[in-house]
Symmetry: C2
Subunit: 206 residues, 2 copies
Amino acid sequence: MARKAASLELAVLGLLHESPLHGYELRKRLNLLLGWGRLLSYGSLYPALKRLLRSGLINEVTATTPGVSRRQRIVYQITPAGRQYFGEQITDTGPAAWEDDTFNMRFAFFSRTDAEVRLRILEGRLSRLQERLDRARHSGRGGSGDDRYLSELRRHSIESVEREVTWLTDLINAERTTDRSVDVPPAAPSTEDTITSAAPAADATT
Amino acid sequence: MARKAASLELAVLGLLHESPLHGYELRKRLNLLLGWGRLLSYGSLYPALKRLLRSGLINEVTATTPGVSRRQRIVYQITPAGRQYFGEQITDTGPAAWEDDTFNMRFAFFSRTDAEVRLRILEGRLSRLQERLDRARHSGRGGSGDDRYLSELRRHSIESVEREVTWLTDLINAERTTDRSVDVPPAAPSTEDTITSAAPAADATT
DNA sequence: ACCGCGATATATCGTGCTGATACGTTGTCT
DNA sequence: AGACAACGTATCAGCACGATATATCGCGGT
């Protein structure tokens, strides 16, 4: 059936992977994890939890934590199926792994991700940004109707993306040099290095 | 009645304020205007146009542009009511004017905005970001479970927001110094800015 | 002893945006 | 002539957001 991996659901599974949590706490941690900008709404969280319940990836138990409060809460915990699904999704580098939110989420779970996959995701994200940069730079045309504020906004946007490109490049270099001695599964495909940094890299379409 | 000013509708009005346009062209320009990141979908644009039509803020005519193409297109143009509405909304500094998308849109139309309003919006945005920064910095807790990637992500996010704060501060300073000759109501909220690193230069000048 | 208030906790609804998809037309290259 | 990219209009399922409703817990004040 292959569900769609709605990013939020994946993040929930990732958190429950460590310990069972109830909705309120889950939201707080998700806001920590994904939330520098806008806060996650319950209108997103609860439907997501229901979807996960229906899919059997998590289950719920009502429990009361003694010592903290005698109040009864609904605690969600991940199922074996959920663990498996999370593992698949976090490993499987889909063509949608480099979009803003999804990327950040995947990055947040990088310590539970293979080095090989980490590199793929970082490089995919990099080429995504580079492509965005090209679009932005090319659109700086217009010549005549050059609005002062508009061009300032444009300049600032481009600069932001450039900074992120630098950040990613550094991360990729760090990954490569650190890898030298670590696990590196022997059955690895011998690193067919078609990737030359910062090249278009053409999303491989799955 | 006071409609909700859905940001996208306002942007459409802003573009049509200059010249009538058809959907396809409208989308391209909106992507230029608002779109550094994800592209605007037709699934957003057309419903927005219908809402504007229903509200009488724009109207549509089918036309064919000779010399370019003999193809018939649906051209939207702003009505007087639309112009008035745009003027009100762009001036009226609601409490929602400093959210990411809305702010960028308003900034993009700054050349059609009063200096006073510009300043209010910039300052509102600034305090919004500062607040975000406080949350982010305060959340750097955890101590023990310090994930390498997670803290790196956090660091980078904070740095990005800090850069935007600097950018805004420079813009505000530029506004203030340029204003010297204009009205400048004495009741200005004075905004005791604790920001230190603000370089005064910021001479955009194309 | 009581009260208010903020934090905890669960939940729903209307509205709007995204990505996918569909379909038809015009212009250009070969 | 036929392929192909760009133009152009449109809809739909899925999902996120903000507002809103409701209720309990723990704390400080009076």
